[in-house]
């Protein structure tokens, strides 16, 4: 699992070499507070790193989730639309946001591993 400075995590898919699942960390979920709204991107769109792809709103404020790398959104977690609280309950599991086909998997090499992220926060 890899982590970004924007408190997102990327988990490599078991079957597909170039697919990752993306979510936000426990730390980020705790800082945001209870989520009440999630707007997900359309499946199939091509995105560039740092594109704002997801809008989330907590009880406090709105924030954006950015694409961590270039690629294509291939699946979104539509369970979040009716139940945004999944992100707070299980940020590393059921609270995932989207899966993407990564344009260049070597972009992940420079990202933090779990130990480095723990130090970062």
């Amino acid at each position: 699992m890899k982590f970004t400075e924007e408190h997102e995590w990327l988990r490599a898919d078991d079957d597909e070499d170039d697919v990752v699942t993306v979510g936000i960390t426990e730390h980020a979920a705790e800082q945001l507070g209870d989520l009440v709204f999630v707007e997900l991107p359309e499946e199939g769109i091509t995105v560039a790193k740092e594109d704002e792809v997801v809008v989330i709103e907590s009880v406090k404020a709105a924030s954006d989730i950015m694409a961590p790398v270039d690629g294509e959104i291939i699946e979104v977690n539509s369970a979040l639309i009716d139940n945004p609280a999944l992100v707070n309950e299980d940020p590393l599991g059921k609270g995932w946001f989207f899966k993407m086909k990564v344009a260049d998997m070597s972009d992940l090499d420079a990202m933090m591993d779990e130990a480095a992220y723990k130090k970062f926060i």
Binding site: G33, D34, V36, F37, V55, E57, V59, A62, I81
Partner: protein, 377 residues
């Protein structure tokens, strides 16, 4: 230069309870505790919540004559409420107005027998006190109470919890005020609050406040509640936040607060007018205001926050209003808002559009409160 934040007598307790502290009206206050805004909100509605509102101003108007009616008559020069008819042991909601008919602050006014006791907003208290000293000093001593904390205990279990400390609290009705002796010294209690729940606001000596708060928190049903949930609770109750929903540029008529102006001060009343801006306000009551504060329910799940522009049609050019408070309502399980709209779009059920992140989303003008109040009447 950094401004030093003020603290309330319960500051150390907030830290001990894990409060996440933020600056609010010059004070270092808890915005939430570890359970978070959503759980705190729901707990308050289901059981009881304890709020530190010691940052608010507590002010005594003491009539120099010794006759409280003289203080009431004097205060009526500054606001459009009937204070003279306010009986001993009773409280009412009010608002100071300016010459243009705008609202300088909203407040609670209590008749405590030989004096009036006022609770005003933290951000306005200095200005309010100066305003009252300017206008009322001939008839009243204006005393700011700085040696007492103020807490609110709100929710269905508030009565049983407070009655365990001060049995007389159980006999009070909504908007009654009384002094109850307790192990924590005399408590100045009103059966009121700002959540839409039954409950109390309690003024307690600052040096006994922490022990008093701990005694309340010893009950399993009582949890501390931060400013975050205080905001969503008051919004569900349809209550205004000064600085957001009402201010010096909004009149009480536009703010839909005419219910808070008693007959005696309206056109044809025994003491018609005689408060700042009365010409503007009484004319607006007669002719209707150009805009009105209304409740708003977004049709979808996206909250419409403060500042969201409102339109009469999806493709309309000019906004007809804006949201002044908007959030998610944990008890009604959907987003909610209030705001000002032009009078011809203010009817309950009117379909409007709110612009969120560049997109026009449907929103409907709704009755307030969004959740019925549970006051003990």
């Amino acid at each position: 230069m950094t401004d030093t934040l003020l603290t309330t007598p319960l500051h150390a307790l907030h830290l001990e309870l894990g409060g996440k502290m933020v600056p609010f009206a010059g004070y270092d206050m808890p915005v939430q505790y570890p359970p978070g805004v959503m759980k705190e909100h729901l707990h308050c509605r289901a059981h009881a919540g304890l709020f530190d509102v010691s940052h608010m101003g507590q002010v005594i108007l003491r009539p120099r004559s010794g006759n409280v009616a003289d203080a009431a008559r004097a205060l009526e020069k500054l606001l459009p409420q009937d204070v003279i008819a306010l009986k001993t042991g009773r409280q009412r909601y009010g608002f100071f107005t300016n010459d243009a008919g705008g609202i300088l602050d909203d407040l609670m006014i209590a008749n405590r027998g030989d004096h009036l006791f006022l609770v005003v907003n933290a951000a306005c208290k200095e200005a309010d006190i100066a305003h009252m000293r300017d206008a009322l000093s001939k008839t009243c001593k204006v005393e700011e109470i700085t040696d007492r904390a103020l807490v609110a205990l709100q929710g269905p279990d508030a009565e049983s919890v407070l009655a365990a400390i001060a049995p007389g609290a159980a006999d009070m009705q909504f908007m009654d005020v009384a002094t109850h002796d307790s192990d924590f010294g005399p408590l100045w209690v009103s059966r009121s609050g700002y959540t839409g729940e039954d409950g109390y606001e309690i003024s307690v000596a600052a040096d006994r406040a922490e022990d008093f708060a701990r005694a309340l928190l010893d009950h399993d049903s009582v949890q501390p509640i931060g400013l975050g949930a205080r905001d969503s609770l008051r919004l569900e109750a349809g209550l205004c936040l000064y600085g957001n929903d009402i201010d010096a540029s909004t009149t009480p008529v536009e703010a839909n607060l005419v219910w808070g102006m008693q007959k005696a001060r309206r056109a044809g009343g025994a003491r018609e007018g005689g408060f700042p801006g009365s010409d503007v306000i009484l004319r607006q009551i007669e002719m209707g205001p150009p805009r009105l504060r209304v409740g708003l329910l977004p049709d979808g799940r996206a909250p419409m926050r403060q500042g969201t522009a409102l339109f009469a049609a999806e493709d309309a050019d000019a906004a007809i209003g804006a949201v002044t408070s908007g959030a998610f309502g944990p008890s009604i399980e959907r987003p909610l808002a209030m705001g000002y709209v032009s009078i011809d779009h203010s009817g309950v059920g009117t379909k409007l559009w709110g612009e969120v992140r560049g997109k026009r989303l449907p929103v409907t003008v709704a009755e307030m409160p969004f959740r019925p109040a549970t006051y003990k009447r």
